[in-house]
Protein backbone atom coordinates (compact mmCIF):
# COMPACT_ATOMS: atom_id res chain seq x y z
CA UNK A 1 0.00 0.00 0.00
CA UNK A 2 1.22 3.43 -0.85
CA UNK A 3 0.46 6.43 1.24
CA UNK A 4 -0.78 9.33 -0.82
CA UNK A 5 -1.81 12.88 -0.22
CA UNK A 6 -4.62 13.77 2.13
CA UNK A 7 -7.70 14.54 0.11
CA UNK A 8 -10.33 15.22 2.72
CA UNK A 9 -9.02 17.87 5.09
CA UNK A 10 -12.12 18.02 7.24
CA UNK A 11 -11.78 17.45 10.94
CA UNK A 12 -13.99 14.67 12.16
CA UNK A 13 -15.27 13.88 15.60
CA UNK A 14 -16.57 10.52 16.62
CA UNK A 15 -19.62 11.30 18.74
CA UNK A 16 -19.88 9.87 22.22
CA UNK A 17 -22.99 8.30 23.76
CA UNK A 18 -23.34 11.23 26.08
CA UNK A 19 -23.74 13.66 23.22
CA UNK A 20 -26.31 11.58 21.38
CA UNK A 21 -28.23 10.88 24.59
CA UNK A 22 -28.55 14.55 25.25
CA UNK A 23 -29.74 15.26 21.73
CA UNK A 24 -32.23 12.42 22.03
CA UNK A 25 -33.64 13.88 25.24
CA UNK A 26 -33.94 17.36 23.85
CA UNK A 27 -35.50 16.34 20.57
CA UNK A 28 -38.70 18.30 21.07
CA UNK A 29 -36.73 21.50 21.47
CA UNK A 30 -34.82 21.03 18.25
CA UNK A 31 -36.41 23.06 15.52
CA UNK A 32 -34.03 21.97 12.85
CA UNK A 33 -31.26 19.45 12.40
CA UNK A 34 -28.50 19.07 9.84
CA UNK A 35 -28.90 16.05 7.61
CA UNK A 36 -25.71 14.39 8.74
CA UNK A 37 -26.61 14.67 12.42
CA UNK A 38 -30.12 13.40 11.76
CA UNK A 39 -28.68 10.38 9.98
CA UNK A 40 -26.39 9.58 12.89
CA UNK A 41 -29.24 9.89 15.39
CA UNK A 42 -31.52 7.64 13.43
CA UNK A 43 -28.83 5.08 12.84
CA UNK A 44 -28.19 4.80 16.55
CA UNK A 45 -31.82 4.30 17.48
CA UNK A 46 -32.89 7.77 18.51
CA UNK A 47 -36.10 9.05 17.08
CA UNK A 48 -36.49 12.56 15.79
CA UNK A 49 -39.56 14.62 16.58
CA UNK A 50 -41.82 15.26 13.62
CA UNK A 51 -41.63 19.00 14.04
CA UNK A 52 -37.92 18.97 13.39
CA UNK A 53 -36.92 20.34 10.04
CA UNK A 54 -34.00 18.64 8.35
CA UNK A 55 -31.67 21.16 6.76
CA UNK A 56 -28.96 20.57 4.26
CA UNK A 57 -25.41 20.56 5.53
CA UNK A 58 -24.39 23.66 3.67
CA UNK A 59 -27.16 25.73 5.21
CA UNK A 60 -25.49 25.84 8.60
CA UNK A 61 -23.64 29.05 9.22
CA UNK A 62 -20.04 28.09 9.59
CA UNK A 63 -17.54 30.80 10.24
CA UNK A 64 -14.64 31.17 12.56
CA UNK A 65 -15.63 32.47 15.97
CA UNK A 66 -14.05 35.58 17.34
CA UNK A 67 -11.96 34.90 20.40
CA UNK A 68 -12.20 37.43 23.17
CA UNK A 69 -8.54 37.43 24.14
CA UNK A 70 -9.03 39.95 26.89
CA UNK A 71 -11.66 37.82 28.55
CA UNK A 72 -9.46 34.78 28.21
CA UNK A 73 -6.57 36.55 29.86
CA UNK A 74 -8.83 37.89 32.59
CA UNK A 75 -10.32 34.52 33.36
CA UNK A 76 -7.01 32.72 33.43
CA UNK A 77 -5.14 35.48 35.17
CA UNK A 78 -5.26 33.90 38.60
CA UNK A 79 -4.02 30.58 37.33
CA UNK A 80 -0.57 29.60 38.50
CA UNK A 81 1.79 30.01 35.60
CA UNK A 82 2.81 26.39 35.39
CA UNK A 83 2.17 25.00 31.94
CA UNK A 84 0.46 21.68 31.83
CA UNK A 85 3.49 19.86 30.56
CA UNK A 86 3.08 16.92 32.86
CA UNK A 87 -0.31 16.23 31.43
CA UNK A 88 0.92 16.36 27.87
CA UNK A 89 3.78 14.02 28.47
CA UNK A 90 1.43 11.55 30.06
CA UNK A 91 -0.75 11.59 27.03
CA UNK A 92 1.91 10.94 24.50
CA UNK A 93 3.11 7.39 25.17
CA UNK A 94 -0.30 5.88 24.69
CA UNK A 95 -0.34 7.24 21.14
CA UNK A 96 2.12 4.58 20.11
CA UNK A 97 -0.45 1.86 20.55
CA UNK A 98 -2.83 3.57 18.17
CA UNK A 99 -0.49 3.35 15.23
CA UNK A 100 -1.87 0.00 14.14
CA UNK A 101 -5.29 0.63 12.60
CA UNK A 102 -4.27 1.76 9.17
CA UNK A 103 -7.56 0.95 7.50
CA UNK A 104 -9.76 3.93 6.82
CA UNK A 105 -12.05 4.46 9.78
CA UNK A 106 -15.70 3.91 9.24
CA UNK A 107 -18.68 4.97 11.22
CA UNK A 108 -20.48 8.18 11.94
CA UNK A 109 -18.66 11.40 12.26
CA UNK A 110 -19.56 14.90 13.22
CA UNK A 111 -18.17 17.53 10.91
CA UNK A 112 -17.43 21.15 11.51
CA UNK A 113 -20.85 22.43 10.46
CA UNK A 114 -22.53 19.95 12.82
CA UNK A 115 -20.47 21.34 15.65
CA UNK A 116 -21.41 24.88 14.69
CA UNK A 117 -25.02 23.84 14.67
CA UNK A 118 -24.66 22.20 18.08
CA UNK A 119 -23.03 25.30 19.46
CA UNK A 120 -25.80 27.61 18.30
CA UNK A 121 -28.48 25.18 19.46
CA UNK A 122 -26.96 24.84 22.89
CA UNK A 123 -26.66 28.61 23.19
CA UNK A 124 -30.33 28.87 22.32
CA UNK A 125 -31.31 26.19 24.84
CA UNK A 126 -29.24 27.80 27.56
CA UNK A 127 -30.84 31.15 26.93
CA UNK A 128 -34.28 29.61 27.31
CA UNK A 129 -33.10 27.92 30.51
CA UNK A 130 -33.95 24.46 29.23
CA UNK A 131 -30.59 22.92 29.93
CA UNK A 132 -27.31 24.20 31.18
CA UNK A 133 -24.79 22.24 29.18
CA UNK A 134 -21.86 23.59 27.24
CA UNK A 135 -20.54 22.22 24.02
CA UNK A 136 -17.11 21.56 25.45
CA UNK A 137 -18.58 19.28 28.10
CA UNK A 138 -20.12 17.19 25.36
CA UNK A 139 -17.24 17.00 22.95
CA UNK A 140 -14.57 16.36 25.51
CA UNK A 141 -15.61 12.75 25.59
CA UNK A 142 -15.55 12.45 21.81
CA UNK A 143 -12.64 11.32 19.77
CA UNK A 144 -10.93 13.76 17.48
CA UNK A 145 -10.02 12.16 14.17
CA UNK A 146 -7.41 13.99 12.19
CA UNK A 147 -7.51 14.07 8.40
CA UNK A 148 -6.08 10.85 7.08
CA UNK A 149 -3.97 9.94 4.14
CA UNK A 150 -5.46 7.86 1.44
CA UNK A 151 -3.91 4.53 0.74
CA UNK A 152 -3.63 3.33 -2.78
CA UNK A 153 -2.28 -0.03 -3.86
CA UNK A 154 0.82 0.49 -5.90
CA UNK A 155 1.16 -0.95 -9.35
CA UNK A 156 3.35 -4.06 -8.81
CA UNK A 157 5.04 -3.61 -12.16
CA UNK A 158 6.07 -0.09 -11.26
CA UNK A 159 7.20 -1.25 -7.85
CA UNK A 160 9.38 -3.96 -9.40
CA UNK A 161 10.89 -1.54 -11.84
CA UNK A 162 11.63 1.02 -9.15
CA UNK A 163 13.23 -1.67 -7.04
CA UNK A 164 15.39 -2.81 -9.93
CA UNK A 165 16.49 0.72 -10.74
CA UNK A 166 17.27 1.40 -7.11
CA UNK A 167 19.35 -1.77 -6.91
CA UNK A 168 21.21 -0.85 -10.03
CA UNK A 169 21.98 2.58 -8.77
CA UNK A 170 23.20 1.27 -5.44
CA UNK A 171 25.36 -1.29 -7.20
CA UNK A 172 26.88 1.39 -9.33
CA UNK A 173 27.63 3.51 -6.33
CA UNK A 174 29.15 0.58 -4.54
CA UNK A 175 31.40 -0.28 -7.46
CA UNK A 176 32.52 3.27 -7.81
CA UNK A 177 33.40 3.28 -4.14
CA UNK A 178 35.24 -0.04 -4.11
CA UNK A 179 36.96 0.30 -7.45
CA UNK A 180 40.28 1.24 -5.92
CA UNK A 181 40.13 -1.41 -3.25
CA UNK A 182 39.13 -4.45 -5.17
CA UNK A 183 42.11 -5.69 -7.21
CA UNK A 184 40.01 -7.73 -9.61
CA UNK A 185 37.83 -4.78 -10.46
CA UNK A 186 40.56 -2.28 -10.78
CA UNK A 187 41.30 -2.70 -14.46
CA UNK A 188 37.80 -3.33 -15.66
CA UNK A 189 36.68 -1.79 -17.95
CA UNK A 190 38.93 1.23 -18.45
CA UNK A 191 42.05 -0.72 -19.31
CA UNK A 192 40.81 -2.71 -22.26
CA UNK A 193 42.00 -1.44 -25.61
CA UNK A 194 38.53 -1.53 -27.13
CA UNK A 195 37.10 0.69 -24.41
CA UNK A 196 39.85 3.23 -24.75
CA UNK A 197 39.61 3.31 -28.52
CA UNK A 198 35.89 3.83 -28.26
CA UNK A 199 36.16 6.76 -25.94
CA UNK A 200 38.99 8.29 -27.99
CA UNK A 201 36.83 7.90 -31.08
CA UNK A 202 33.97 9.73 -29.44
CA UNK A 203 36.14 12.61 -28.42
CA UNK A 204 37.86 12.80 -31.78
CA UNK A 205 34.51 13.00 -33.49
CA UNK A 206 33.46 15.83 -31.22
CA UNK A 207 36.65 17.77 -31.89
CA UNK A 208 36.46 17.08 -35.64
CA UNK A 209 32.94 18.45 -35.71
CA UNK A 210 34.18 21.56 -34.01
CA UNK A 211 36.99 22.10 -36.51
CA UNK A 212 34.75 21.36 -39.44
CA UNK A 213 32.09 23.86 -38.47
CA UNK A 214 34.67 26.56 -37.79
CA UNK A 215 36.22 25.92 -41.20
CA UNK A 216 32.79 26.07 -42.83
CA UNK A 217 32.12 29.38 -41.08
CA UNK A 218 35.36 30.79 -42.35
CA UNK A 219 34.67 29.61 -45.88
CA UNK A 220 31.28 31.26 -45.80
CA UNK A 221 32.75 34.57 -44.68
CA UNK A 222 35.59 34.37 -47.17
CA UNK A 223 33.78 33.25 -50.34
CA UNK A 224 30.05 33.32 -49.65
CA UNK A 225 29.71 36.99 -48.79
CA UNK A 226 31.95 37.89 -51.69
CA UNK A 227 29.74 36.01 -54.11
CA UNK A 228 26.58 37.57 -52.75
CA UNK A 229 27.60 41.20 -52.46
CA UNK A 230 30.09 41.48 -55.25
CA UNK A 231 33.83 41.96 -55.33
CA UNK A 232 35.29 42.91 -51.95
CA UNK A 233 38.88 43.74 -51.02
CA UNK A 234 40.96 40.75 -49.96
CA UNK A 235 41.71 42.02 -46.44
CA UNK A 236 38.07 42.66 -45.73
CA UNK A 237 37.20 39.14 -46.88
CA UNK A 238 39.69 37.62 -44.47
CA UNK A 239 38.37 39.78 -41.65
CA UNK A 240 34.81 38.73 -42.44
CA UNK A 241 35.80 35.05 -42.50
CA UNK A 242 37.59 35.29 -39.18
CA UNK A 243 34.66 37.05 -37.53
CA UNK A 244 32.12 34.47 -38.69
CA UNK A 245 34.46 31.64 -37.69
CA UNK A 246 34.94 33.16 -34.24
CA UNK A 247 31.22 33.45 -33.60
CA UNK A 248 30.69 29.84 -34.57
CA UNK A 249 33.71 28.75 -32.54
CA UNK A 250 32.30 30.42 -29.42
CA UNK A 251 28.94 28.73 -29.73
CA UNK A 252 30.50 25.41 -30.55
CA UNK A 253 32.93 25.69 -27.65
CA UNK A 254 30.05 25.85 -25.21
CA UNK A 255 28.52 22.65 -26.54
CA UNK A 256 31.89 20.93 -26.72
CA UNK A 257 32.64 21.74 -23.10
CA UNK A 258 29.25 20.44 -22.08
CA UNK A 259 29.70 17.23 -24.05
CA UNK A 260 33.18 16.55 -22.72
CA UNK A 261 31.92 17.12 -19.22
CA UNK A 262 29.26 14.53 -19.80
CA UNK A 263 31.89 12.05 -20.99
CA UNK A 264 33.76 12.52 -17.76
CA UNK A 265 30.69 11.66 -15.82
CA UNK A 266 30.05 8.53 -17.81
CA UNK A 267 33.66 7.48 -17.33
CA UNK A 268 33.39 7.97 -13.59
CA UNK A 269 30.63 5.48 -13.17
CA UNK A 270 31.92 2.08 -14.31
CA UNK A 271 29.57 0.34 -16.63
CA UNK A 272 28.36 -2.95 -15.30
CA UNK A 273 26.32 -5.66 -16.73
CA UNK A 274 23.02 -6.26 -14.99
CA UNK A 275 23.07 -9.26 -12.66
CA UNK A 276 20.86 -11.33 -14.91
CA UNK A 277 22.95 -10.96 -18.05
CA UNK A 278 24.87 -14.19 -18.65
CA UNK A 279 28.25 -12.59 -18.97
CA UNK A 280 31.36 -12.08 -16.88
CA UNK A 281 30.62 -14.72 -14.29
CA UNK A 282 33.30 -13.48 -11.92
CA UNK A 283 31.76 -10.07 -11.71
CA UNK A 284 28.33 -11.53 -11.26
CA UNK A 285 29.33 -13.53 -8.23
CA UNK A 286 30.96 -10.48 -6.76
CA UNK A 287 27.76 -8.53 -7.16
CA UNK A 288 25.43 -10.97 -5.54
CA UNK A 289 26.08 -10.13 -1.90
CA UNK A 290 25.41 -6.46 -2.48
CA UNK A 291 22.16 -6.73 -4.31
CA UNK A 292 20.00 -6.39 -1.23
Amino acid sequence: MLKSTIVDTRVRLRPSKKLLDLLGEQKEHLKELPANLAKILEKNGYSIANSTRIIRDDEVVCKRPQIDVKLLNKLTANLPDVPSNAQEINELPEEEVEEEPKQPLTGDFLYLNDLHFLNSTLTELRRNNIINVFLYELIESCELILPENEYKPRNPELEARCQRLRDEQQNREYHKMTKNVDATLKHIPEDTVAYQLKSINKQIIAVAQFIFSVAAGFTFGFFGVNLMVGPLPFGFRILLGVIVALVIALAEMYFLAKKLHEYDEVLDAPKRKTPNSPKASGVQILQKPHVD
Binding site: K3, S4, T5, I6, R14, P15, S16, K17, K18, L20, I40, N44, P83, N85, E88, E91, L92, E95, G107, D108, I139, E140, S141, C142, E143, L144, L146, P147, E148, N149
Partner: protein, 124 residues
Protein backbone atom coordinates in the same frame (compact mmCIF):
# COMPACT_ATOMS: atom_id res chain seq x y z
CA UNK B 1 23.30 41.84 17.65
CA UNK B 2 19.69 41.74 18.73
CA UNK B 3 19.10 45.11 17.14
CA UNK B 4 20.86 44.00 14.01
CA UNK B 5 18.76 40.91 13.56
CA UNK B 6 15.60 42.86 14.26
CA UNK B 7 16.30 45.07 11.29
CA UNK B 8 17.34 42.26 9.00
CA UNK B 9 14.59 39.87 9.92
CA UNK B 10 15.02 36.32 11.06
CA UNK B 11 15.98 33.21 9.18
CA UNK B 12 14.25 30.07 8.04
CA UNK B 13 16.39 27.00 8.56
CA UNK B 14 16.03 23.66 6.81
CA UNK B 15 16.81 20.11 7.85
CA UNK B 16 15.96 17.79 5.02
CA UNK B 17 16.95 15.51 2.22
CA UNK B 18 18.96 16.66 -0.74
CA UNK B 19 16.05 17.78 -2.89
CA UNK B 20 14.30 19.64 -0.12
CA UNK B 21 17.46 21.50 0.78
CA UNK B 22 18.36 22.28 -2.82
CA UNK B 23 14.84 23.52 -3.42
CA UNK B 24 14.62 25.81 -0.44
CA UNK B 25 18.13 27.09 -0.98
CA UNK B 26 17.13 27.96 -4.54
CA UNK B 27 14.23 29.81 -3.00
CA UNK B 28 16.80 31.86 -1.14
CA UNK B 29 16.54 30.85 2.51
CA UNK B 30 20.13 29.71 2.92
CA UNK B 31 22.74 31.68 4.77
CA UNK B 32 26.23 31.10 6.08
CA UNK B 33 26.98 33.55 8.82
CA UNK B 34 30.22 35.14 9.96
CA UNK B 35 31.14 32.11 12.05
CA UNK B 36 30.66 29.89 9.00
CA UNK B 37 27.57 28.25 10.42
CA UNK B 38 25.05 27.34 7.74
CA UNK B 39 21.35 27.42 8.55
CA UNK B 40 20.62 24.23 6.66
CA UNK B 41 21.52 20.58 6.94
CA UNK B 42 21.40 17.97 4.24
CA UNK B 43 20.44 14.57 5.57
CA UNK B 44 21.32 11.52 3.52
CA UNK B 45 21.07 7.86 4.30
CA UNK B 46 24.44 7.83 6.04
CA UNK B 47 23.52 10.57 8.51
CA UNK B 48 23.19 9.37 12.07
CA UNK B 49 20.13 10.24 14.13
CA UNK B 50 22.34 11.88 16.74
CA UNK B 51 23.68 14.26 14.10
CA UNK B 52 20.17 15.35 13.17
CA UNK B 53 19.36 15.79 16.83
CA UNK B 54 22.46 17.87 17.51
CA UNK B 55 21.80 20.02 14.49
CA UNK B 56 18.19 20.56 15.52
CA UNK B 57 19.23 21.58 19.02
CA UNK B 58 21.83 23.92 17.63
CA UNK B 59 19.17 25.61 15.51
CA UNK B 60 16.89 25.90 18.53
CA UNK B 61 19.61 27.73 20.43
CA UNK B 62 20.37 30.26 17.71
CA UNK B 63 18.40 33.45 18.27
CA UNK B 64 18.33 34.50 14.63
CA UNK B 65 16.19 31.58 13.50
CA UNK B 66 12.44 31.94 13.51
CA UNK B 67 11.23 28.88 11.61
CA UNK B 68 12.79 25.43 11.45
CA UNK B 69 11.64 23.29 8.57
CA UNK B 70 12.19 19.59 8.97
CA UNK B 71 11.11 16.72 6.77
CA UNK B 72 8.47 14.69 8.52
CA UNK B 73 10.44 11.47 8.09
CA UNK B 74 13.38 12.95 9.97
CA UNK B 75 11.09 14.57 12.50
CA UNK B 76 9.87 11.08 13.33
CA UNK B 77 13.43 10.07 14.23
CA UNK B 78 13.81 12.84 16.79
CA UNK B 79 10.19 13.05 17.88
CA UNK B 80 11.02 13.30 21.58
CA UNK B 81 13.09 16.44 21.03
CA UNK B 82 10.38 18.06 18.95
CA UNK B 83 7.68 17.20 21.46
CA UNK B 84 9.78 18.69 24.23
CA UNK B 85 10.04 21.98 22.38
CA UNK B 86 6.89 23.93 23.26
CA UNK B 87 7.85 27.58 23.05
CA UNK B 88 6.46 29.40 20.01
CA UNK B 89 9.88 30.67 18.79
CA UNK B 90 11.36 29.11 16.77
CA UNK B 91 8.37 27.41 15.19
CA UNK B 92 9.05 23.86 14.07
CA UNK B 93 7.23 23.01 10.86
CA UNK B 94 7.09 19.44 9.71
CA UNK B 95 7.01 19.45 5.95
CA UNK B 96 6.39 16.54 3.63
CA UNK B 97 9.23 15.27 1.51
CA UNK B 98 8.96 14.12 -2.05
CA UNK B 99 8.45 10.46 -1.23
CA UNK B 100 6.53 10.77 2.03
CA UNK B 101 3.27 12.69 1.90
CA UNK B 102 2.17 14.76 4.87
CA UNK B 103 0.65 12.69 7.63
CA UNK B 104 -1.54 14.69 10.00
CA UNK B 105 -1.51 12.01 12.68
CA UNK B 106 2.24 12.40 13.14
CA UNK B 107 2.39 16.17 13.44
CA UNK B 108 3.32 17.21 16.97
CA UNK B 109 0.81 20.00 17.34
CA UNK B 110 -2.09 18.01 15.97
CA UNK B 111 -1.23 15.18 18.32
CA UNK B 112 -1.38 17.70 21.11
CA UNK B 113 -4.82 18.75 19.89
CA UNK B 114 -5.98 15.17 19.81
CA UNK B 115 -4.65 14.68 23.32
CA UNK B 116 -7.21 17.23 24.58
CA UNK B 117 -9.96 14.71 24.08
CA UNK B 118 -10.42 11.65 26.17
CA UNK B 119 -12.78 9.38 24.31
CA UNK B 120 -15.16 7.23 26.26
CA UNK B 121 -18.05 4.97 25.19
CA UNK B 122 -18.07 5.98 21.57
CA UNK B 123 -20.70 5.18 19.01
CA UNK B 124 -19.37 2.84 16.41
Amino acid sequence: MALHSAIKGKLISVIGDEDTCVGFLLGGVGEINKNRHPNFMVVDKNTAVSEIEDCFKRFLKRDDIDIILINQTYAELIRHVIDAHTSPVPAVLEIPSKDHPYDASKDSILRRARGMFNPEDLVR
